[in-house]
């Protein structure tokens, strides 16, 4: 998993709980590199899970809630650092649909070895989009947070329902219904 995710997660934690708390949590989390992450590195996803669990214990918030918050944080980060992906998009659906087709294409140019999740989308109507998330990692709540933040960015309101795939692991269908 790309180092940028780890770096940003720690930034969010510092923002929420303060540096000292983060230092302490990292000490306890028993990480392979003691929390020395760089954005250009690659780290196992299990390390990310360890960090989330450690902060959950520290804060009393559930790992799911933390993942959702982190989704919001990352969307803000993307908007700030990669405005070109948002420039010509006029709706949340348009952006969600472009993840696999445009954004991941660009990501692969920089990181040919990146293990990217898949986001298959299906537009049922102007106000209903299905997005099927399939990934080697159990981060569906992180997705939830990203989708929520995306709606907020485009100043749209709507419902997001999650349906995990009955058999396939780490595959979840998000049904996004916008309301006027």
């Amino acid at each position: 998993m790309k180092g940028v995710v780890f770096v940003e997660l720690l930034k969010m934690a510092e923002d929420a709980f303060g540096e000292e708390a983060v230092d302490n949590v990292l000490d306890k989390a028993d990480l392979e590199n003691d929390g020395a992450f760089t954005t250009v590195g690659n780290y196992p996803c299990s390390e990310l899970v360890k960090i989330v669990v450690a902060f959950s214990e520290h804060s009393g918030l559930s790992p799911e809630v933390l993942q959702i918050k982190f989704g919001h944080w990352m969307m803000a980060f993307f908007i700030e650092h990669y405005p070109e992906f948002f420039k010509d998009k006029t709706s949340a659906f348009a952006l969600l649909e472009s993840v696999d087709q445009e954004i991941h294409v660009e990501v692969r140019k920089l990181y040919p070895d990146a293990e990217l999740p898949r986001f298959d989308t299906e537009r049922h109507s102007d106000s209903h989009l299905s997005m099927i998330y399939s990934s080697p990692r159990p981060l569906d709540m992180f997705c939830q947070g990203l989708i929520e933040a995306c709606l907020e960015h485009f100043d749209e309101k709507g419902e997001i329902s999650r349906t995990p795939h009955p058999t396939a692991e780490n595959t979840t269908t998000f049904d996004v219904t916008t309301t006027a």
Partner: protein, 585 residues
């Protein structure tokens, strides 16, 4: 201190950042190395590719050169073979002609006839192969001349019915009134196609008429001529039709067991017609007959602009202008052809003199000695072109009788050079008796340009007289360029011109002596000065030969033709003597 606490970073945090940076730097180095290696590999590929392209290009170029060399060798081979085959073949056919004339016994005549038929057939194949190879080499040229399609079709018909296999066949010709009397085209090639159609029709049918039709139609303001040859013979099935116009193919003929010809006839026709932008094809029903046709765009000739000789009034047969007694110099090295030409000459009543080679011909030649020269082209020591060139250089145009070249070469190949050296007409070997007789009659009658076989050069020096006997020039006009003569007569009158010419004679005679003695003394400046004056005077009086000789002396060009200044001056003197004789007379 306490308010700075937030800005300070713990040791632990610092160590963590240091470790992260070290890792990032290590990653960067690794990426850089990967990039370097990838670039190196790419360059290697690129240079390998360039090398491969260079090698491949070199291979292809070599292959192309080899192919071109092979093609050139093939062309040379064909040209050589044409010569090697046509010369003896001509000899054979000529001998057969001669034997046939003397032979009375029917049995032997029949054998001779077979021999002749076989020989003519062979000759046709050789010509076909030659035509074909010329087309392959892209040197097949089309002439543009006035074509009278009615006369052309009639002549094809007469030829076909006079031929052994066609004598009992009925050939019907139908030329629509819309077909123009004359149009521009290559009559020889059109005749070749029509006669090929007709001879095929005769070969592939055993009875029923053969119909030759010519019509025209309008296509966007262009006139299209369509010629059809219809027979009621064996016909051709669909598969046969698709192969018909291909090279070296023949359809089996149930009427004759053996194949005839090289299978090139229709392929050549197709190339001819396509070569002039036309179409050629056949409609046929197996067992019922075939209609071969071609269509070409034609340009109608305005009859008002046509002079009689061009075909509107076909040249009437020349009265037997008695070629008997005509003195002819025959330059020919091949013993068979010598015998043949001498016998022909004897039969025509010519007085023949033989030169075994170009150099002998040059030695034997003298003005007023012959009325005609028959010059073989390919001869050892000195060929016919070379000999003609020497004769033209040594003697004035008026002193040289018509020179006819005989060649077994592909005519187009030597046409240009022959024209340059001053050959009046090229005849193709083997030449049948009648054709040679006709050519000689035409030439002797001063009718060089109206003959209908072989090229004629309009660039040759104008012959002053059309009479068979080339005589000494008898009046000033024979020596002078016609336009200058006309101008001077207008200006001075005939008497004035004579006076003028007398002054020139006197002045030039003195100058030429001065020139010669200056040359003996080695005073070349004086030589040039005299030559310059002579040139100017000769030009003014319209004596082209003298002006040219003087020019050569002035510019020191006499050596170009293996002549000394003295020899050139001698020619000048001779001309002056001629002029003096005229003026006294």
């Amino acid at each position: 201190m306490t308010e700075n606490t937030d800005d300070r970073v713990s040791r632990k945090r610092y160590e963590r950042e240091k470790a992260a940076r070290a890792e990032a730097e290590a990653l960067l180095e690794e990426k850089s190395r990967d990039l370097f290696l990838a670039n190196q590999k790419l360059e290697e590929y690129s240079s390998n590719l360039e090398q491969a392209v260079l090698e491949r290009t070199a291979e292809v170029r070599l292959a192309l050169e080899r192919t071109e060399a092979a093609s050139a060798a093939r062309s040379r081979f064909l040209a050589t073979m044409s010569h090697e085959i046509r010369t003896p073949l001509g000899g054979l056919l000529g001998m057969i002609d001669l034997l046939e004339m003397d032979e009375k016994e029917p049995g032997k005549l029949e054998l001779l006839n077979y021999a002749k038929t076989a020989g003519v057939g062979l000759s046709k194949i050789v010509n076909d192969v030659l035509d074909f190879s010329k087309m392959e080499a892209g040197v097949f040229l089309f002439e543009e001349e006035n074509v009278d399609i009615r006369a052309l079709i009639e002549s094809v018909k007469i030829l076909a019915t006079s031929h052994e296999t066609g004598t009992d066949r009925q050939i019907v010709t139908k030329v629509s009134d819309s077909v123009p009397r004359l149009f521009l085209g290559d009559a020889t090639r059109i005749r070749q196609v029509v006669s090929n159609f007709v001879s095929n029709a005769i070969r592939y049918s055993f009875d029923g008429p053969i119909i030759i039709k010519a019509t025209t139609k309008d296509n966007d303001g262009k006139t299209i001529l369509r010629v059809e040859v219809e027979d009621f013979g064996v016909g051709i099935d669909a598969e046969g039709i698709s192969n018909l116009f291909k090279d070296f193919t023949q359809i089996s003929n149930p009427l004759t067991a053996a194949a005839q010809g090289a299978g090139l006839g229709l392929a050549i026709c197709k190339r001819i017609i396509n070569g002039v932008g036309g179409e050629i094809s056949v409609e046929s029903t197996f067992g019922e007959g075939s209609t071969f046709w071609f269509e070409i765009e034609i340009e109608t000739v305005d009859l008002q602009n046509v002079s009689g000789a061009d075909g509107l009034n076909p040249p009437v047969d020349l009265p037997p202008e008695g070629i008997q007694g005509t003195r002819v110099l025959i330059a020919e090295d091949n013993i068979i052809n010598q015998k043949l030409l001498l016998t022909y000459a004897e039969r025509m009543g010519l007085v023949a003199d033989l030169a075994e080679d170009g150099s002998v011909a040059l030695e034997k030649f003298a003005p007023d000695k012959y009325d005609l020269v028959l010059m073989d082209i390919a001869m050892p020591k000195m060929d016919g072109l070379e000999a003609t060139r020497h004769i033209r250089e040594r003697w004035a145009a008026e002193q040289i009788p018509p020179i006819l070249a005989l060649t077994a070469h592909v005519m187009d190949a030597i046409e240009e050079e022959a024209g340059q050296v001053g050959i009046d007409k090229i005849l193709s070997k083997p030449i049948p008796y009648e054709e040679l007789k006709k050519a000689i009659e035409n030439v002797v009658a001063g009718n060089l340009s109206s003959s209908n076989s072989g090229p004629v050069f309009s660039s040759k020096p104008k012959r002053a007289k059309a009479k068979p006997q080339i005589e000494e020039a008898r009046s000033l006009v024979d020596l002078m360029a016609p336009d200058v003569h006309k101008n001077l007569v207008e200006m001075f009158g005939l008497d004035g011109l004579s006076d003028f010419a007398g002054k020139f004679l006197q002045d030039s005679s003195e100058r030429i002596e001065k020139l010669v003695s200056a040359n003996d003394d080695g005073d070349f400046k004086e030589v040039r000065a005299q030559a310059h004056s002579l040139k100017g005077a000769a030009q003014a009086l319209g004596f082209p030969d003298m002006a040219e000789w003087a020019r050569k002396i002035e510019l020191d060009e006499t050596g170009h033709e293996d002549m000394t200044v003295l020899e050139t001056a001698e020619m000048f003197r001779a001309k002056l003597t001629e002029l003096s004789v005229i003026l006294k007379g």
